[in-house]
């Protein structure tokens, strides 16, 4: 849900029909949408609200909660001197989010990184393979159920 105080915010208003929740904490705005709406939200943010830059894409593993993964997009408007965080949550079984590369090309490597380290698949991505870990690596290191110690060589 969107809190009363935020409904007048122009960014939230532009995303009102897509947003499942919004919050303004530590002077930072976060808007959450459903995974299928994220590309629509990103293109609105880019073309209507003038956020030229996608700063990063990453994940947060909320294991053992369900839906397990948060996919987090950080955006910056250079002209407007403002920042925005978009978020979506996906299930732990076959996590999949549509790719943002058609809206922001910079998403390409960030989504590969998120795929590599969290195992979240970005459907429609032009080059979905590991970027940090070796190609034959098993598992996704930033998942909370991935062991922190113990060699797996």
């Amino acid at each position: 849900m969107i809190p009363e105080a935020l409904t007048a915010n122009p960014t939230v208003a532009a995303l009102a029909d897509l947003a499942t929740s919004a919050k303004f904490e530590f002077s930072e705005l976060t808007v959450e949408t459903a995974p299928e709406d994220i590309v629509e939200a990103l293109s609105r943010v880019k073309y209507d609200l003038n956020y030229e830059r996608l700063t990063s894409v990453t994940g947060v593993d909320r294991f053992p909660e369900e839906p397990r993964f948060e996919v987090v997009y950080h955006l910056q408007s250079v002209a407007g001197k403002s920042r925005l965080r978009l978020k979506t949550r996906v299930s732990g079984t076959n996590p999949e989010v549509p790719t943002a590369t058609l809206v922001y090309r910079s998403a390409e490597w960030y989504e590969r990184e998120t795929f590599d380290l969290f195992g979240i698949n970005f459907s429609g991505h032009p080059d979905m393979r590991r970027i940090m870990m070796p190609d034959g690596w098993e598992g996704h290191p930033l998942r909370k159920d991935y062991p922190i110690t113990g060699a797996r060589y």
Partner: protein, 413 residues
């Protein structure tokens, strides 16, 4: 193997070079493997270049050789211990990384940092910028063939490292900024050391410029080389000096000031030529501006405490710890289990020498971060490699790559 015309997946190429025939026409391209141990890739970047004669048809960067799982490691260290990891991400700009990490944690904690500590942070962050730009200039010049510049730059860099050592006890992995302020109070005699440097530095920058700015070989190798449009850069996630050399005035120090940067008088230089030469001139001008900031910090350094008044988060005074029970308890608790950080998430971005370094910190209310994501500027900048060098000559690759100023530790984390 179609979309990269022979190099769709870099790991498919097992030989150093490979010949590809196109459409049976007899016209063949050569795939050349550059790196990961090539000296002018500054670290372990591997580039796969598809060449048609001397022209680059396709370039595919391959990264990850320096991945050390630092983001995972943050999750098992207490907040204060995490500071030491940040040095090792971008090892040429350790204090910038300390700063962004501390600012993110302080935002979550709601800590007020004394002015004295804030100004010291600004001063040392600018020294870091000088340090990083000097290493960049030295190695960039050596790549292009100007050997002596290296020695000139490292002379001043050595002095900066001595200043770091004076403040923190360490030359490179400083960890001097801590959550809540600084690790130690100022060392005795720091003003003289900094003042000596401030007095001599502008003439030293003139020396570098004498060696390079009007040097015909230098201009011949750099002017008009490495062009990439501003739209492409914004779209591909490039930040920092690359954007400013294309005429976009973007600098977090001005746009969203942190750590009292708003109190300092400095310019954000921009250029419009958008080539390797412009990026060189821009960074030289940035060095002069950093010098201005350091000078102001030296002259106007406010007195006060080097740490916030936050018992339970910053370590108590050593003398008090030995004489007062309460302080001893705090000391023991902070060292043995750390402090709790309120639940929440923040994204803090600052202007590192290479561009925007961002720290996305998620706290679940315990003593260790739930998740730290590091948005390194090198990673975003490197993403533009293909766009930057495709269509240029192989001899220009080194100049164009050098102008990006990436650090592989920052890319791979």
């Amino acid at each position: 193997m179609s979309n990269y015309s022979g190099i769709s997946n870099p790991s498919d190429v097992h030989r150093d070079h490979d010949l590809h025939e196109k459409n049976g026409s007899g016209h063949r391209t050569l795939v050349l493997n550059m790196g990961p141990q090539h000296p002018s890739t500054h670290g372990v970047l591997r580039l796969l270049l598809e060449l048609d004669g001397e022209t680059i048809v396709k370039a595919a960067p391959d990264i990850g050789y320096l991945h050390t799982g630092i983001e995972k490691e943050f999750e098992v260290k207490t907040y204060q211990q995490g500071v030491t990891l940040t040095d090792r991400i971008d090892y040429l700009a350790p204090l910038s990384n300390n700063l962004v990490y501390c600012l993110a944690a302080e935002k979550l904690l709601g800590l007020e940092i004394p002015e004295h500590a804030q100004w010291t942070r600004v001063m040392l962050a600018e020294f870091t910028r000088l340090n990083s730009h000097l290493v960049w200039l030295a190695t960039h010049a050596i790549d292009i063939g100007a050997m002596s510049v290296f020695l000139y730059c490292f002379r001043e860099r050595e002095e900066i490292l001595r200043i770091f050592e004076m403040f923190s006890g360490q030359r490179m992995m400083t960890s001097y900024f801590r959550i809540g302020g600084l690790a130690l109070p100022h060392p005795r005699g720091w003003q003289k050391r900094v003042k000596d440097f401030v007095d001599i530095f502008p003439s030293r920058v003139d020396e570098y410029e004498n060696l390079l700015t009007n040097n015909r070989i230098w201009t011949g190798r750099t002017k008009g080389v490495g062009y990439i449009s501003l739209e492409d850069m914004l779209d591909l996630g490039v930040t920092g000096p690359m954007l400013r050399a294309a005429g976009l005035k973007v600098d977090a120090r001005k746009d969203s000031p942190y750590s009292s940067y708003e109190k300092f008088d400095f310019e954000v230089p921009t250029r419009t030529e958008n080539d390797v030469y412009a990026r060189y001139l821009l960074r030289v001008e940035e060095m002069r501006q950093s010098h201005r900031i350091i000078k102001q910090a030296l002259e106007g350094m406010p007195s006060g405490s080097h740490q916030a008044d936050a018992p339970g988060i910053v370590l108590p005074d050593r003398e008090k710890m030995k004489t007062q029970m309460e302080s001893l308890i705090y000391h023991f608790k902070i060292v043995s289990e750390g402090f709790r950080v309120p639940e929440g998430e923040v994204y803090q971005a600052i202007e590192s020498p290479r561009g925007e370094v961002g720290c996305y910190m998620v706290s679940d209310g315990t003593q260790k971060p739930y998740r730290v994501h590091w948005r390194g500027p090198s990673f975003g900048n490197l993403q533009s490699t293909s766009k930057l060098i495709e269509g240029t000559l192989i001899a220009d690759v080194i100049a164009a790559l050098g102008s990006m100023d990436f650090v592989l530790g920052d890319t791979d984390r």
